[in-house]
Amino acid sequence: MELHFLTIGELREKIATREIAATTVVRSILKRIAEVDTQVHAYINVLSESAMAEAELIDAAIAKGIIKPLSGVPIALKDICCTKGIETTCCSRILRGFIPPYDATVVEKLREAGAIIIGKTNMDEFAMGSSTETSCFGATRNPYDLTRIPGGSSGGSAAAVAADECLAAIGSDTGGSIRQPAALCGVVGLKPTYGRVSRFGLIAFASSLDQIGPFTKTVADSALMLSVLAGYDAKDSTSVNLPVPDYSAFLGRDIRGWRIGIPREYFIGGIDTETQSALDGVMRTLQACGASCVDISLPHTEYCLAVYYIVAPAEASSNLARYDGIKYGMRVEKFSDLKDLYKKTRSQGFGSEVKRRIMLGTYVLSSGYYDAYYKKASRVRTLIKQDFADAFRVCDVILTPTTPSAAFKIGEKTNDPMQMYLSDIFTISTNLAGIPGISVPCGYTASGLPIGAQFLAGHFEEAKLLQVTAAYEQAGTFIKRRPKI
């Protein structure tokens, strides 16, 4: 078996028994990247040298008997995570050349756990997008069909895992940016509860919605990754000081008697028939595992997209004010005065989608419109949050499609922002409510494109998500196909 096909769970065993050295794994992954990434373009920066150097250190530690949870596991990072001494750009021209003087907390945690950082992955500029087409480095392609998008904004991370160019990857999810690409690339993507994972060193998009999470090949690997990533961090005052459970302990437990909430608002109209029948299959499998499906309602679902596209751009317009050509990143050479320097730098540094959202955010926060837009949206957000609280009184987890349909063609939605926004329609509510969500592969379309099922749970109930998806995965009704690449 080729080493790049391994899961983290499989590799851990081979590392522990010294059957494989970390350097051998890294070499195999680098070879795989060299073979396929010219087609997929998942990476914008492959860290060949430092990854080999890290692997040598890990091998030396293993020789001394020091084995950590992720010893020798090659992991890719979305280019939104700050990496000390390594250029971090958010795939924006305005941050070209930015070399962070510190590591994000998740990067520190991964290194402490023995993981090897293999490279930085492509993304929509500043994580604003659903297709990884707005990157200043060009688009990433879906490994299952190179003419289609991988989803976004963490499309590079999802594609890298799907194409076996790493064993796991880190993404960030503000409105579905982990779960939507995971679904479209046929991998597992987990968005933890807001506050579960430190955001320190994550370049901010919408601070009340952003959350970091893992892309993996299996649910068991997702549990391993979350156990490493989760936890309180004094450097992020919104991280929550709750004990981190041993998530792997929940795998293999049965779900007999569980109530799976099926929100009727997510199953009416607009869903592709192949997606619908894949979801029907998931329900049958869960019922065969002893769970029951119950009809529930999330009455404010139809307002989620409107709330999101007020709240997220509002926060983004404030967060992105820091890119002014003064402290870091690019600065134009010709300008007349300070204000002109700001305007010219920002106008040349940001792409169209980022500008559109800064404009929208500035508008909804501006004098005379604040009450009608931002304040109104924040109140509707309370109702959306309340919908979920009510639902979790009658069910253990909620099941929905992750996306209305499978991956669309590159270029198909780039000229119509509203159509692009609608591709996140099933994932946005999770972030507004701050709850955790996971997307797992559950089928393929007739043309071979992956379909994802999304499970949602109450705050800090990631263990439930991992338990139910592991039960689904182990039932064996879904047979994973590798992309032909």
Binding site: A306, G325, M359, L360, Y363, V380
Partner: protein
């Protein structure tokens, strides 16, 4: 029309962005589409909804002891500045 070209120009100035004519035209039309979509929120009665949610997890202020801890040196902090000199960042003249 929810928003006209003059207002888009005003928002662009507040955003410290500038656009050419064609781009301005396109942005005005796209922002109108998006703002029209937002109108559906007016159907929701929020008069009695308290509080507004600006962050999902109800949380108190995160206080800590005021203890000095290591931080970046000014050299490290200034390394990414496009125009730094000594311990400062140089900017165009602001006061005449």
């Amino acid at each position: 029309m929810k928003i006209g070209k003059a207002e888009v120009a005003h928002i662009a100035n507040l955003s410290r962005l500038e656009f050419g004519d064609a781009e301005m035209e396109l942005f005005t039309s796209q922002l109108n589409d998006i703002l029209l979509y937002m109108e559906k929120l007016s159907a929701v009665d929020t008069a009695s909804v308290m509080p507004a949610t600006t962050q999902e997890m109800a949380r108190h202020n995160a206080f800590r002891e005021d203890v000095v801890a290591p931080s970046l040196s000014s050299e490290e902090a200034l390394r990414n500045a496009p125009d730094a000199t000594g311990d400062c960042i140089r900017v165009p003249k602001v006061v005449e």
